[in-house]
């Protein structure tokens, strides 16, 4: 755990220096950091707890809408609305899980799509609540300590802080009792119950934490976009993208989702001219490769090889 935290500290230091070194590549770095944060939050539920959600875009949308509507209609600063969004996302996650956690495996995944699609239709149609299909425009933002929140540098630091907090949370949880409960429920719900763990309560906690963290990232995304449209931010495609980022990187590993974000956003940028708007093709091809040849994902496979080598060395000596 200490090793991972030191690693995170080093990466954070690199991240703080990044805008000074590459001042022109901030937008893509923000994408990588947001997706790293979302995918790592998703992984708390999807990887560590084994409940594959295909509805996490709902929480991204929730965070973005809280920030945009809070600012434009009530003059609330983004940090307050992000905190409110996190609380509300946790409550939504509680009821969502309460409704659907009786379903296991692929059936749970299907139900998350249905719930997320219903939420999307509500966001598009309830104009009094969300501004409807036209979306919400974020015209002004407060300037804390004279920092312009519309500048890409400020947004980069917000995204960096978000990703770092999420990864730190997962590092701590991975060694905490809660982390072992999550994994026990993933491996076998009935045995976990026999060992005195309440599977539904564990899954609910994981869903609530995952939802709250995702919505904070959604709030930052709202500030970055400054214009929020329901069919972009609530899209099934975004949910799929978040889930696949974590799975391709390596489910249930600390660094897998972040590596996934780096690889996928990087690859998307490389092929931007070739594929243009069809760049989800990369996600499709990579997920097929992962399912067929690397079932543990990139980081999971590397970790497996590393452990095998350690055992081989130990056997020799």
């Amino acid at each position: 755990m200490i090793k991972h935290l030191i690693g995170l500290g080093v990466l954070l230091a690199v991240g703080i220096a990044y805008p000074a070194i590459f001042p022109n590549n901030l937008t893509i770095a923000i994408s990588v950091l947001l997706f790293a944060g979302w995918a790592t939050s998703w992984d708390l539920l999807g990887g560590w707890n084994g409940q594959v959600s295909l509805g996490h875009a709902s929480f991204v949308g929730l965070g973005a809408y809280f920030v945009a509507i809070g600012q434009s209609q009530f003059g609330l600063a983004p940090w307050w609305t992000m905190a409110m969004a996190a609380v509300f996302a946790a409550i939504l996650g509680y009821f969502w899980g309460w409704l659907t956690f009786s379903l296991r495996g692929p059936y749970f995944s299907l139900s998350t799509i249905a719930v997320a699609e219903i939420l999307r239709l509500i966001a598009i149609n309830e104009e009094w609540l969300t501004g409807g299909a036209t979306g919400v425009f974020l015209a002004t933002l407060p300037e804390p300590f004279g920092i312009d929140l519309f500048s890409r540098t400020a947004q980069f630091y917000m995204a960096l802080a978000f990703a770092a907090v999420v990864v730190a949370t997962v590092i701590v949880i991975s060694r905490a009792q809660f982390g072992y409960q999550l994994r026990a429920v993933r491996e076998d719900e009935d045995s976990a119950m026999a060992a005195g763990i309440d599977p539904t309560a564990t899954k609910l906690k994981a869903f609530m934490l995952s939802a709250a963290l995702t919505s904070i990232g959604g709030g930052i995304y709202g500030v970055v976009l400054a214009f929020i449209e329901p069919h972009v931010i609530f899209a099934l495609l975004l949910s799929v993208q978040i889930a696949l980022t974590a799975i391709i990187g390596g489910r249930g590993t600390i660094w897998g989702p972040s590596v996934g974000a780096l690889v996928l956003i990087g690859a998307g940028e490389m092929f931007r001219t070739t594929f243009a708007e069809a760049n989800m093709l990369i996600y499709g091809i990579l997920i097929l490769i992962v399912v067929l040849f690397l079932p543990r994902g990139i980081v999971g496979e590397l970790a497996r090889r590393h452990i095998r080598r350690l055992y081989a060395k130990r056997a020799q000596s």
Partner: protein, 294 residues
């Protein structure tokens, strides 16, 4: 009396639309019943069918129904290839692997179409697109009626295949008990390929019959049809072909009635709400006792 006329009209449209939903749902439920695979790419195969009709129409000037002659065998073959090279490798892995693999296939199909045809909506103009004829005061659209007839013919053919032929018996045996089927000498891997081919063929056929009526877009339409197919099959009970027909008709009628008498902007949501309720409270479906029957 005018109210009754409109009601009859709506029910007729709903039933005919539901027939096409049933056709889509049967493919999904057949694959699930035999292979236990939840096929996320099913809607994208429907879209592939739509684009094949667009392509044959643009290149050869064919009517969509004529292009079925080529599109259906090609669809069957494509399904067999996908099963052989992808799904057969994950059939014994945890069920999520197959789900993720089909999700990948769905993304590849949608985006490959986007690269080839571009993003603007496509359709095929046919001379009978707006022609209707009336039965007992109810106007029936020619396109929907043709789609309905095609659905009935296809369902009858499928029923015969499953219940009156040796391959059908092998398919039902594999669905019932894969190991048992292996023991009595059925090559279940071959059956899996055939079943997935059939599933894709049905999806392609539904796409072709829908193209005079709807516009196809590369990535969105696929997800919409996949969701509809799930709703249809879960309404009836996953893995049950007969119930998928009832589920399809039910969804068609509910959507049309809900949209015309209640809130039309929530047309898509009615099916989803029903889907959730049934998944939660009656996972075996409205009509099924067991999810294992085909």
């Amino acid at each position: 009396m005018a109210g009754l006329d409109i009601l009859l009209q709506n029910v007729a449209n709903g039933v005919l639309m539901g027939g096409v939903y049933a056709l889509i749902g049967i493919g999904l439920t057949l694959v699930f019943g035999v292979m236990r695979t939840i096929n996320f790419a099913h809607g994208d195969f429907v879209v592939l069918g739509m684009y094949s009709a667009v392509l044959f129409n643009a290149l050869l000037g064919w009517d969509p129904y004529l292009s079925l002659l080529l599109a259906m065998p090609i669809g069957f073959f494509a399904g067999v290839v996908v099963e052989r090279f992808v799904l057969s490798r994950v059939v014994d892995a945890p069920p999520e692997s197959a789900l993720l693999a089909t999700l990948g296939i769905s993304l590849i199909i949608g985006n490959a179409i986007l690269l080839t045809f571009g993003g603007e909506p496509r359709s095929v103009q046919v001379s009978y697109a707006s022609s209707t004829f009336s039965i007992a005061g109810v106007n029936v659209s020619m396109v929907l009626l043709l789609a309905g007839i095609a659905t009935v013919v296809m369902i009858a053919a499928l029923y015969t295949l499953l219940n009156r032929t040796e391959i059908g018996r092998a398919i039902r045996g594999t669905a019932e008990n894969r190991l048992g089927a292996e023991l009595v000498g059925i090559d279940t891997r071959r059956i899996h390929s055939i079943v997935f081919g059939l599933g894709v063929m049905l999806a392609v056929m539904a796409g072709v019959t829908l193209i005079p009526l709807l516009f196809a877009t590369p990535t969105n339409t696929g997800a919409v049809f996949t969701l509809k197919a799930f709703v249809v099959t879960v309404l009836g009970g996953l893995g049950n072909v007969g119930a998928a027909i009832a589920g399809g008709v039910l969804l068609g009628v509910v959507e049309v009635l809900g949209a015309s008498y209640f809130m039309s902007e929530y047309r898509e949501a009615y099916g989803l709400v029903a889907f959730l309720l049934i998944l939660l409270f009656r996972p075996e479906g409205l009509f099924g006792r067991t999810v294992k029957r085909v």
